[in-house]
Each structure stands twice: as structure tokens, then as C-alpha cells.
């Protein structure tokens, strides 16, 4: 057997990062999930806005004052967060499902480095996909609104860019939350069920919660944290980036728990 000539003296985080990128890009499911994200995401946008013309015509003066064409074109985030969440979950759980995690940990026994590489790659893909989806969804939505002759927005309008970018940040944070849940649960189904519970179930049941939990709802996904997607200020959330920041802190806490468990548990 030939000897190695250009072997490094030390494996680095950069190596781990490259390996994770190769793993992610070499799976068809990654690209299917991303294609699905855009097909469903933009599909929801065009469906949701197809009757905007009649809605606006029937709207009261108060409703017209609150008419937020940017927010309308970005509501697709509700569905998109689930699909981008699946991507984040699979980065970790697909390796548990196949047993590949053993091979990965043997190749990169410094586990924090291994998980960090996975999280960074997932975040990078989510940032690009999330921002791109929010931007295309906005442009498509405004085109549909303008075709129906109802008030619509342009990227340069006040608050629009902040809402579009905020939507991308929101989706990235959800992908990271999903990767953390996947690491903690080590199973796709469990992690996905938890994610659905967090983004859909808890917000739906929020009215039942005692008042001391309301602070949590202010930063919860699909609730307070999603206020950043609006350009017409919501009196409940005067500074929506703070709410989004709160959600990011929560995601960070989940990730810390994931790292601690990943380091301590046997594979």
C-alpha cells in the first residue's frame, strides 16, 4: 500500500466543515427538500394572494389602514419553517438512522467540533435558502398584488428590507432549532413532532396559558418572533427585532443542551 504524502499533521475544524458539506451536497434528499421549500413556499404565496383584489375591495377603512402587502407576501414562512426545519433535523438524525454517526465520531472524535461543523453547514444552507425564499416570495407576492391593482410595496419602501431579511433570519433560526432538536432526540420523527409542537401547537394553545407564560409567547416562533415580518407596526410588539432576538436566545439554549448531550452520550 502506498504511503501518504500530503497528510496533515492535525485534523482541523476546516476539515470537518468540508466533510459535512460533502455529506450534505451528496444526498439527493437535500436538493429535493430545497426544491420542495421553494415550490411549496412560492405556491403558498401565490395561492394566498390570488384573491387579494376582492379582499381589499371588501375591506373596511380600518382594515385598509392595516393593509400590509409585505407581510401578506411573507406569510408563507409558516409552511416554509417546517420544510427548512426538516433539513436541519436530517443533518443530524439521518446519521443516527443509518448508524453513520459512529463512523463520523470515529473520524472526528472531538465531538464538539463534529457537531459544530454540522450546525454551521446547516446554518449556511438555511441562511441562503431562507433569504432567497423570502426575497422571491416578496417579489412574486408584490407582482400578484400589482396585477390585481391593490396597494403593493417595493423593496425600497420603509421597513420592507427589514421584514424580508428578518424573515430569512427567522427561518435560519428555526433550522438551527431543528438541528438542536435532532441532536437531542436522535430520531427524525421525534424531532419533527417536537418542532411541529413548538411552531404550531403551542401558538394555537397560547390562549390557555397562565399570564406568567405570556412573556414566552412574545418571543415564540409563529407568534412574537414572527412580528419582524410586518411593516405596519403591531402595537403589541413595538420593537419586533427584540422579539426575534429573544427567540434566537431560546434557540441558542437548545443548541447548548444539544452540544452538552452530544459530547456526553455514548454513540
Amino acid at each position: 500500500m502506498s504511503t501518504l504524502t500530503s497528510t496533515p499533521t492535525r485534523a482541523t475544524f476546516g476539515h470537518a466543515l468540508r466533510a459535512e458539506w460533502i455529506k450534505l451536497r451528496s444526498l439527493r434528499s437535500t436538493w429535493y427538500t430545497l426544491a420542495c421549500l421553494f415550490a411549496v413556499g412560492l405556491g403558498v404565496t401565490s395561492l394566498a394572494l390570488s384573491s387579494a383584489g376582492t379582499d381589499y375591495a371588501d375591506a373596511s377603512a380600518a382594515d385598509r389602514a392595516a393593509w400590509d402587502p409585505t407581510n401578506l407576501s411573507l406569510t408563507t414562512y409558516i409552511v416554509a419553517q417546517l420544510i427548512i426545519g426538516v433539513l436541519g433535523i436530517l443533518v443530524v438524525t439521518s446519521e443516527y438512522a443509518t448508524g453513520l454517526m459512529q463512523t463520523s465520531v470515529m473520524a472526528t472524535p472531538r465531538r464538539l467540533r463534529l457537531l459544530a461543523a454540522k450546525v454551521v453547514v446547516a446554518a449556511a444552507v438555511a441562511v441562503v435558502a431562507g433569504q432567497l425564499l423570502m426575497l422571491t416570495s416578496f417579489l412574486l407576492g408584490q407582482a400578484i398584488l400589482s396585477a390585481q391593482d391593490v396597494p403593493h410595496a417595493a423593496l425600497g419602501d420603509p421597513g420592507v428590507l427589514s421584514a424580508v431579511i428578518g424573515g430569512g433570519v427567522y427561518l435560519t433560526a428555526i433550522a438551527l432549532l431543528a438541528a438542536g432538536l435532532g441532536t437531542i432526540m436522535r430520531a427524525t420523527a421525534g424531532a419533527l413532532a417536537t418542532l411541529v409542537g413548538i411552531v404550531f401547537l403551542v401558538p394555537a394553545l397560547a390562549g390557555l396559558f397562565p399570564s406568567w407564560l405570556e412573556g414566552l409567547i412574545d418571543v415564540w416562533p409563529t407568534r412574537g418572533a414572527a412580528a419582524v415580518l410586518a411593516t405596519v407596526p403591531d402595537p403589541e410588539y413595538p420593537d419586533p427585532w427584540l422579539n426575534l432576538g429573544g427567540m434566537c436566545l431560546g434557540v441558542a439554549a437548545v443548541l447548548v443542551a444539544a452540544f452538552v448531550l452530544f459530547r456526553r452520550r455514548d454513540v
Partner: protein, 304 residues
């Protein structure tokens, strides 16, 4: 020189002690067979060697360092613990490429190990469609990526056809000839007889034997002698009187234990009995193993 040094290794899961104070050394240049019945703790021990599981106590070093402290792990240890551990949607080449990248190994190593394992032709195919034998080869290709000094295989012969078994056996021998330390687990003794130089036997998590293959056979296999004569009944009585244990063999032969073939020959000459056959039976490794682990198998079948 990369030796694998296992010292006082213990693993408890709650009240169960899966591995109990096991110590042994895997030396370079030979194949060390790691034997034990199912559930004896072989896989858990291998997981602790490769840093997948944390020992409750004791430690393992590879060339003097703990696994997780190895600067470029794949160049020191190649381990295959589960041949199924491949994502079915990824091609063989991409699987190896990602592993090589994680340790900064040059890309050409992927083609080299694909060639050594005979997988060049299916490198671009998804591993999901691979047979067990091909997966096994892919797993072995992965262990060779970093040209490591130590190799660890958990039950590599499981589920393989005869050709696959021979291929792996030859590979193990050639890896040892190249001066590498090779640790191979199996629950099938006779397979090990053909490939291992040294044996480490565990049962119920405890070390039972750590010895050379030939010493193991000599020490543990109580040899028998096959005897054939015209008057088996009468000679059996003489043998029993002389202190031997006699069983009836096939075609009215006698299977004698407790006396050597030399002693049986002299006994026959003394009594004027004509022997048509006198053959020492070398104890099979299987027998020796059964003998040794009789008390330590987890579930014992009751003979009907």
C-alpha cells in the same frame, strides 16, 4: 509501532456490568482474534477502544494515546464496527470522500482504497443498492483511507458468502504482514482458527483467555483418539480398565479420551489386539471454545 493497550476496562449500564475489568494488548504484525459468545461484551469493548463509548473505569490507549487525542485519527486507527453504517442515498465515492475530507486526507486515497477493495466499478453507485458483501467492502475501504497502523473489525465475516469470507481472511492476513495491529471479533471460533495468530476470549464481560492460537488449542482442547478394531467391545473394556473414557464412534469405532495414542497402541500390543486405525483427533477450536465459555454464555439452550 502502534499497539492497542486495554487496561482494566469496565463498562456498566445501570446495574449491568457489560465489560468487567478487561485487560489485553493488540500487538502489531499479527491478527488478534477477539472471541466470545453473543452478548459477551465484544462490541462494547470495541466502542470503548474507538472512543464511541466512555468506560466506567479503566482506559484504552492506541500507540500510547487515547483515541480522542489522536491528531489525525484515520491515519492511526481504521475501525469497522457496523457494515450497515452507510447512508443508502450516498454513492460509495462520496461516502469515502467525506470521510477523507474530515481528516484532510488527499482525494486520491479514495481511488486507492476503492481499488484495493475491488469497488472501482460501483464507486458511483448509491450504497443503498449494495449487497452485504459490497457494504462490507465499502466499510473496509473506509478503514484503509488513512493507511492506519491499527485496524479494528467487528464481526467482519457475518453474513458473507464463502468468496467474501476468503477475501476478508486474506486481507486480514496481509494487513498483519504489513506490520499493522489487527483486532477482529467473531463469535465463530473455527473462522478465527484460520486467520488469527493470537486470541483474546471474553465471556459475560470477563476476560477468559489471552493467549497464542496454538497454546490455546493445546491448553484447552482435550484431545481424543479414534480407534478401530475387530473387537471393539472387548477392547473398550481394556481401555476403561486402563483409565480411559470411551465413547462409541461412527461405524463401530471408539472415541477414546484420557489416554494418548501412544499409550493406546502399547495397550493394544500388550493384549494382542489388532488395531485397524489409531488416529489422534486434534481438538477443534470450536470445542475448545465451548469448553471454555460453557459457564459464561448468556442464554443456554436445553438439549432436547
Amino acid at each position: 509501532m502502534t499497539t492497542i493497550d486495554v487496561r482494566g476496562l469496565t463498562k456498566r449500564y445501570g446495574p449491568d456490568t457489560v465489560v468487567d475489568d478487561v485487560s489485553f494488548t493488540v500487538e502489531p504484525g499479527q491478527v488478534t482474534g477477539f472471541l466470545g459468545p453473543n452478548g459477551a461484551g465484544k462490541s462494547t469493548t470495541m466502542k470503548m477502544i474507538t472512543g464511541l463509548a466512555t468506560p466506567t473505569s479503566g482506559d484504552v490507549t492506541i500507540g500510547g494515546r487515547r483515541y480522542r487525542d489522536l491528531p489525525v485519527p484515520l491515519t492511526e486507527v481504521g475501525a469497522l464496527l457496523d457494515a450497515g453504517a452507510v447512508h443508502g442515498g450516498r454513492t460509495a465515492r462520496d461516502h469515502l470522500l467525506a470521510l477523507a475530507a474530515s481528516n484532510g486526507l488527499p482525494r486520491r486515497r479514495v481511488d486507492e482504497v476503492l481499488a484495493r477493495t475491488g469497488l472501482e466499478g460501483v464507486a458511483g453507485k448509491r450504497a443503498g443498492g449494495f449487497s452485504l458483501g459490497m457494504r462490507q467492502r465499502l466499510g473496509i475501504a473506509a478503514t484503509l483511507l488513512g493507511d492506519p497502523r491499527a485496524l479494528i473489525f467487528d464481526e467482519p465475516l457475518n453474513g458473507l458468502d464463502p468468496e467474501g469470507i476468503r477475501w476478508i481472511r486474506d486481507l486480514l492476513r496481509s494487513l498483519a504482514r504489513e506490520g499493522r495491529s489487527v483486532l477482529v471479533s467473531s463469535h465463530l471460533m473455527n473462522e478465527m482458527a484460520l486467520s488469527a495468530d493470537h486470541l483474546v476470549v471474553i465471556g459475560r464481560g470477563r476476560l477468559i483467555a489471552d493467549t497464542g492460537m496454538s497454546e490455546f488449542l493445546r491448553a484447552n482442547g482435550e484431545g481424543t483418539v479414534l480407534v478401530r478394531t475387530q473387537e471393539p467391545g472387548a477392547f473398550a473394556v481394556r481401555l476403561t480398565e486402563a483409565g480411559a473414557t470411551v465413547r462409541e464412534g461412527l461405524e463401530s469405532s471408539l472415541v477414546v479420551s484420557g489416554l494418548s495414542s501412544d499409550e493406546i497402541g502399547r495397550l493394544a500390543a500388550f493384549h494382542g489386539v489388532a488395531l485397524s486405525e489409531l488416529t489422534p483427533q486434534r481438538a477443534s477450536l470450536e470445542d475448545a471454545f465451548m469448553e471454555l465459555t460453557r459457564d459464561s454464555v448468556e442464554y443456554q439452550g436445553v438439549a432436547a
